[in-house]
């Protein structure tokens, strides 16, 4: 189901799995009257355009859509979508969204966060939302920097990063966001690029089809404070050699078919040239089952400094938190009978005077 070559018609996207869908929505229906205020050239513009362009195909009315964001340049995203929106405080968007999605499972809830908002101050809420499989789609704009506060390093900045807060270079090892999400038992984990609209759109499409928490890391260029961080993948010609585009059920081959990921000695996955690899040992991508294949793929490279996997790493079905919570309410009604305040208060030992 994770065919990423984009051949899936958009009609399909707005299909069976969106009941009550509205027929004729356009990008305009999702565009608010607020003029975006990002720096000229910021990758956020491309993501905004892609999301606004994609939403209509879902056939979900703006009124049933909620965007929750944290603080950061990424956090402004909410104001530009003409849906219901909650611009929360720093790092707490996953918690607010958990409240929204759990209270009303009919809503389609999105979270927009950044590498600082989501992985630094908000790390705990993020991993717990993933663990609980709350039905929210989390878009993490990873620009490997703190943009809004004008350029300090972030938990995804490469080691040795020189920034305003680290004039002598950062000394801490960054997170591997895919690895962290998988370690947190996430049910949907994917990575895409701000400037590859088709790939970005298809990942969003799969994420919306996934029942439960979807974690989508979007490599986003901050042209003011961290320009070019992802050139190896974003640049057309470089990308050709370094993007490992994952397709479920397909052998993992890249660099125009010259290189692959294969099962090495003691079961280790490794990058090799197709030429000197026994075809049988080339790994077939599989988003289901145990998360360890996805985890291994996430660690083929640390940060976008070499061949890097993009696309959907993992996708498994588990009951969503909201469903489970409401199912319990229903079961309680069956077991304890319909609510009656009188019985609640008057239950137990009473006496009448």
């Amino acid at each position: 189901m994770t065919d990423l070559d984009g051949t899936i018609g958009t009609g399909d996207g707005a299909g069976a799995d969106t009941p009550g869908g509205v027929a004729t929505l356009t990008k305009k229906d999702f565009t608010s009257d607020q003029e975006p205020r990002w720096c000229p050239g910021c990758g956020d513009y491309a993501i905004l355009a892609a999301v606004q362009g994609f939403m209509p195909e879902l056939g979900i009315a703006p009124k049933d859509t909620v965007f929750v964001s944290g603080i950061g340049c990424s956090g402004r995203f909410t104001y530009y979508m003409d849906t219901y929106g909650f611009h929360g405080i720093h790092g707490r968007a996953p918690a607010i969204a958990t409240g929204v999605a759990t209270a009303n499972p009919d809503l389609h809830v999105w979270v927009v966060t950044g590498d600082g908002d989501g992985l630094s101050i908000g790390g705990n809420h993020l991993i717990h939302a993933l663990r609980r499989n709350v039905n929210i789609k989390i878009l993490m704009f990873n620009n490997q920097i703190y943009g809004l506060t004008k350029g300090q390093y972030s938990p995804t900045s490469e080691e040795g990063k020189v920034t305003k807060s680290t004039p002598f270079g950062s000394v801490d090892r960054p997170f591997n966001p895919m690895g962290l999400a998988l370690g947190a038992a996430a049910t949907f984990v994917a990575r895409t690029l701000d400037n590859d609209r088709q790939h970005l759109t298809e990942v969003l499409r799969q994420a919306t089809r996934h029942p439960g928490a979807a974690f989508v890391e979007i490599y986003q260029n901050c042209n003011v404070f961290n320009d070019g961080a992802f050139d190896l993948l974003r640049d057309k010609s470089l990308g050709l050699h370094n993007q490992i585009r994952l397709v479920d059920g397909e052998p993992i081959v890249f660099d125009e078919g010259t290189r692959c990921v294969r099962v090495g000695e003691n079961g280790r996955y490794e990058i090799a040239t197709v030429a000197d690899t026994d075809p049988a040992s080339i790994v077939t991508h599989d988003v289901h089952g145990s998360p360890s294949l996805a985890f291994a793929l996430a660690h083929l490279s640390e940060g976008p400094t070499g061949p890097t996997a993009i696309g959907i790493f993992r996708e498994v079905d588990r009951p969503t938190y909201g469903e489970a919570v409401h199912a319990q309410v229903d079961r309680a009604r069956e077991r304890l009978g319909p609510p009656d305040l009188g019985t609640l208060l008057g239950g137990g030992d009473t006496w009448t005077v």
Binding site: Y79, H125, H128, P339, T350
Partner: protein, 611 residues
């Protein structure tokens, strides 16, 4: 033998034993029989500190105190008239709670050298004169119990565990409590396990008969029923009442109750109680921490539910930033703070009132929040309903202050007429064609509550300063000043809906007003009643809303030459009153992790009157 019967107005009994001895259950049962008999009463369980201590040590002592009377009861009592001590540790831990000359009933069998030493006594306290000032009854409870249940044929160990029923039976006889309520309860509880049932019944009867037959007890005490309003009553603890009040508010408003919380002593009980009632559509979420909890509740509020989060001091600190977000997004939200003792982790199982100023000022920037406090266990119910009504009517977060004492203690509660409860109207916004202004205001200065799913009202809110009316982001100077004042005036305006503060001043010529808030109500009433008994005239008033104050408060505090404010903190309300009304209010502060005793307050009032 025939026994004389002595009449008494009020009695305070304290059951104390090892954590494993079932003292809480014993106390509950005695309370029930007492309630059935129509006495007014107040109870207080006294649990050991969080971690279980080794059996037989003072740290492992668990106690339960009850005051009951033929007239109204406002506190569990400063001192116990009777202490039932199941082992030496219980005696050691609680002896100083017994009034001099009081009665002590010991489980003689437990006073072995080993236990005496475990309790930290050097000498046997029953032999070395420690108890000279008291009237002591030695009863070999364990052995009699074991003998009494022999016929049931259960293990000695199991038999011994029934000794608390023996104690209950004995004390039930001493105070002429009905036996049937206890026996029928045992039926219900152990219906399945015949042997256990028989053992407990046998032990209970053995205790009762022991009192009746042995010479040890010369007379029985009778406490007449108290005159009370007709109605149906039940005994209720603060935790239950608060939880039920929230459910009632959900029922009256039609808003599903969404309770997100992170466990913390003494607030966990709310989470436990609410999670039992999911059939009311109650959603309970145990969040990863307090910050997540309040954010989840706020998210639920955004969707049009009754969002509530509960915690205690340390958690209140953590929620501060998000409460500011609730203030600026102007969404209905309830935060319950069950106050406990001390700064930081402090003394988690002890009571205190020291979160008033934090509740008032504990958020950066100018973020005013209404505050309401419960004055008794049963009052928690009404306070919860009121808080919900204000939160919804004014689109504002509201803080409910309770404390460890209210949470755990119980009192008889006259069940409310359901349709006497206020109705709460969510008044959700609906599209009317014109452009939607999320920050337009009604005459209460409340903004529209437009919930996701509503066609045509899509809008964005958040923590950046909002433009008056449109709710767009605004950095404009005048707008910020205007919004700051609007947020303040909205909260201040709640006073218009509040009843004037009632002053209890029978002869109207008192020259001291005792002004209180929260759980000190019972103590204040008791102290004032005693002083009036001594012919002194003292006025009394109790605040329910701490922010805003009732409109007549200034007039009230200015009316009296002297104002005394008793608080279980270093003087929070006193400072607010002094700043606001420039009256020289005196503070009576006790910060010991326990309630103020009526007699302590009595002394303080007398001193103030006489100086």
């Amino acid at each position: 033998m025939v026994k004389t019967v002595e009449e008494r107005e009020r009695v305070v009994i304290r059951f104390a034993g090892d954590s494993g001895d079932g003292m809480q259950l014993t106390g509950d049962r005695f309370t029930n029989a007492t309630a059935m008999l129509g006495n007014d009463l107040a109870t207080l369980p006294d649990f050991p500190a969080e971690i279980r201590a080794p059996a037989g040590t003072v740290h492992g002592v668990s106690a339960f105190q009850i005051q009951f009377a033929s007239t109204d009861v406002t506190t569990p009592g400063d001192h116990a008239d009777v202490l039932v001590a199941m082992n030496p540790a219980a005696l050691k831990a609680d002896l100083d709670t017994v009034a001099k000359g009081g009665t002590i009933i010991l489980n003689e069998d437990a006073f072995t050298p080993r236990n005496i030493e475990k309790a930290g006594y050097r000498e046997d306290p029953t032999a070395d004169g420690t108890l000279d000032a008291y009237q002591v009854f030695r009863v070999p409870m364990t052995s009699i119990t074991v003998r009494a249940v022999e016929h049931v044929g259960i293990s000695k160990k199991e038999a011994e565990r029934a000794k608390n029923m023996f104690a209950l039976g004995l004390v039930s006889w001493m105070y002429g409590r009905p036996t049937d309520t206890t026996l029928s309860w045992l039926e219900r509880k152990f219906g399945g396990k015949q042997e256990i049932l028989d053992a407990n019944v046998a032990a209970f009867n053995a205790g009762y008969n022991f009192g009746e037959t042995t010479e040890l007890f010369a007379h029985q005490v009778r406490v007449e029923a108290a005159p009370v309003e007709p109605g149906t009553y039940r005994n209720v603890a603060g935790a239950q009442a608060l939880a039920w009040g929230l459910i009632a508010a959900s029922d009256r408003s039609g808003l599903p109750l969404f309770y997100a919380s992170y466990p913390i002593t003494p607030a966990s009980e709310l989470l436990h109680e609410l999670s039992k009632h999911k059939n009311f559509g109650v959603i309970t979420v145990q969040a990863e921490d307090e910050i997540a909890a309040v954010n989840m509740a706020l998210g639920a509020a955004f969707t049009g539910q009754l969002g509530v989060t509960g915690t205690s001091g340390p958690g209140l600190d953590l929620k501060a930033e998000t409460l500011g977000l609730a203030v600026i997004t102007e969404l209905p939200l309830i935060v319950v703070d069950v106050m406990r003792a001390g700064p930081s982790t402090g003394m988690p199982t002890k009571t205190e009132q020291s979160d008033l100023l934090p509740a008032m000022f504990g958020r950066h920037g100018e973020s005013p929040m209404p505050i309401v406090a419960a004055s008794s266990p049963a009052d928690c119910f009404e306070v919860a309903v009121e808080a919900a009504k204000v939160a919804v009517d004014y689109r504002t977060p509201v803080t409910i202050l309770s404390d460890t004492f209210l949470q755990n203690s119980s009192e008889p509660w006259r069940l409310p007429e359901l349709d006497s409860l206020p109705t709460i109207d969510p008044a959700f916004a609906t599209a009317n064609g014109d452009a939607f202004l999320p920050y337009a205001r009604n005459d209460r200065l409340a903004r529209p509550w437009a919930v996701p799913g509503t066609e045509g009202l899509e809008h964005r809110i958040g923590g950046l300063e909002r433009e008056d009316g449109t709710g767009d982001i605004s950095y404009e100077a005048d707008n910020h000043e205007r919004m700051t004042r609007l947020r303040r005036d909205k909260v201040a305006g709640i006073a218009r809906d509040l009843p004037p503060l009632e002053v209890d001043d029978p002869d109207g010529n008192a020259n001291v007003l005792v002004l209180g808030w929260g759980s000190t109500a019972g103590t204040i009433r008791a102290a004032v009643r005693r002083l009036r008994g001594e012919g002194r005239s003292v006025a009394r008033a109790h605040l329910r809303w701490l922010n805003p104050f009732p409109e007549n408060l200034g007039e009230v505090v200015s009316r009296y030459p002297k104002v005394l404010i008793p608080e279980i903190n270093t003087g929070h309300l006193a400072m607010l009153i002094r700043a606001r009304f420039l009256v020289d209010a005196a503070s009576f502060a006790k910060v010991q992790g326990m309630p103020i005793f009526a007699e302590e307050l009595e002394r303080a009032i007398v001193e103030l009157l006489d100086d």
